[in-house]
Symmetry: C2
């Protein structure tokens, strides 16, 4: 069976794995920080290095020196152009017009494809995760930002210029909070990781009773969304409040997606899902309250089933789609 | 060439026309009020009668008694089931589980198909109107409600349960106005015809200077959205304000659609487009302010090109798609 390397390039980490074309396993799993501050050459170098390490580890794991390697699928923050393989712009990496696909192809001698990272995560969940077999899939990844993807009949919805799926930037409150994108009231301006942490700190400073400071040795600057989820799991009231608020806001956005796209399944991924039913119960209730009944009844809202690797699975699936026409 | 009858059933009027399969003309155009108060049997009877009248007129217009008739495509308010041909529910007509497709087929002896009216309008604009040749199309019809449709690669996006495209019910202000659908802050709760009229009357009663009462003989109850558009065209300041506000609110909703679906074209239809550039200029500016640049650059926002008949064109196109697999 042919093997394909999947690369999930993020603003924080690079994840690489080598998959058989049927997606039945991940060999040679690699994870390292993205050397953002060292510039694009360093990032490309690190990706190439991790591809090499993944292949070496894969050989060891499979007990063979002879890999039948088809190529490498890359998922990257965008906007990007899947046809030319160029990353047009990434606020998180500070790149402009970076020919990432061909840089990786040249350095490795492998055929390569490029796809948006959030699209990859959704496609990965459709291929081998929580959304297998579904025709209409919406995926959200709640992290530093809120990424999204729409997969219809097993194909990523790209739109006219590869921008489709920017779910984090739907307006849920037209006179609301300023978003990093310049718009007011984006979903991301309420429910992204940093905004979740900021809201908890605001409440804390306003006098809410909470054990949050104990989780960070009293250093409020170290309160991240992860810390809030952890405290919520331990039953901290303030943290639970913030998780419930986040759930409601995500529910507002998902209700709109349910009314517009009528998906069978919405996959919510990212650290926020660590809060489990404390997130999903109020989120589903909010969607039910807001969206059309026949659309709500047809839709499951579930956590991602491939934490940490959905993007790698999706990068491989996208390679298959771009090179071979089908996953 | 085969002929197909198109029926556009609305809460106010029924429009019927007979089209050659290439959509090059509309023969036997009929328009009559929908006898909503007389119940479903009367509505079915009226539709059947108008189909007959359309065919008679078509024979006259074509100068032949021998029509090569393939069937009838019906567009109806929903939610409805395109597979079973049943209208599940229509608030405007007060129907529940009405087998409209088969009722029409039985009464006429013609093959029939059923599709959502707003989907038909968008498909019609794609087939023979403003969105010809576009791969990614979003349509909005601003009337009593705000209907919507998404057409991808010439196919209506139906979603998992035929609800996709409910663009009027996207949340643009999560703590905003109550919508008829039960949700808060829907686009429709701000920009539908009745809401446009209501906002004008509110401003007028609050003391705004306007000539609006002159258009309705002083009877404020007769101020409709149409009257507001007419006054705006004549330069009335209050009416212009309301049109600008409507444009901005529509812009908020369309910006979200542009970020999620990245369409090549957004077709805005309905009476509101009578305001012309007084609507479209601020609407486009709002979308530009809010949505991602590469998505905005790829997208044209235009008025519908088939006023009054987009739904008939779309019902015929939908018949072709359902019966013959392609438009």
């Amino acid at each position: 069976m042919r093997l394909i390397v999947g690369v999930d390039l993020g603003g924080t980490n690079i994840v690489v794995g080598t998959l058989p074309e049927d997606g039945s396993a991940v060999y040679g799993h690699q994870l390292q920080p993205t050397p953002v501050a060292e510039g694009p050459d360093a990032v490309v170098g690190r990706i190439v290095e991790l591809i090499g390490k993944s292949l070496t580890a894969t050989k060891r794991e499979l007990g063979t020196d002879d890999l039948n390697l088809a190529g490498v699928g890359i998922g990257s923050p965008g906007p990007l152009n899947t046809q030319t393989g160029i990353v047009v712009m990434t606020p998180n990496l500070g790149w402009r017009n970076m020919p990432l696909r061909d840089r990786i192809a040249d350095a490795t001698g492998l055929a390569a494809t490029l796809e948006n990272d959030a699209n990859c995560a959704t496609l990965g969940e459709w291929w081998r995760g929580a959304a297998q077999g579904a025709q209409h899939v919406v995926g959200l990844t709640v992290g530093t930002g809120i990424g999204g993807g729409v997969v219809l009949d097993g194909k990523i919805l790209h739109g006219a210029s590869d921008v489709a799926g920017e779910i984090g930037h739907m307006t849920i409150d037209m006179t609301g909070r300023l978003c990093k994108c310049g718009n007011y009231g984006c979903l991301e301006a309420y429910a992204s990781g940093p905004n979740i942490a900021a809201r908890a700190v605001e409440e804390l400073l306003a006098g809410a009773v909470t054990k949050l400071p104990d989780y960070v040795g009293g250093d409020l600057d170290r309160i991240t969304a992860q810390v809030v989820y952890e405290a919520a799991r331990d039953g901290d009231e303030l943290a639970l409040d913030v998780v419930r608020d986040t759930a409601r806001v995500l529910g507002v956005g998902i209700a709109t997606l349910v009314n517009i796209l009528n998906p069978e399944i919405v996959v919510v991924a990212g650290g926020v899902t660590l809060a489990g039913d404390r997130l999903f119960a109020p989120l589903r209730a909010e969607v039910k309250r807001r969206a059309f009944r026949p659309a709500v009844d047809a839709c499951r809202i579930v956590p991602g089933a491939l934490p940490g690797t959905a993007g790698v699975y999706g990068a491989v699936a996208s390679f298959k789609q771009q090179k071979w026409g089908a996953v």
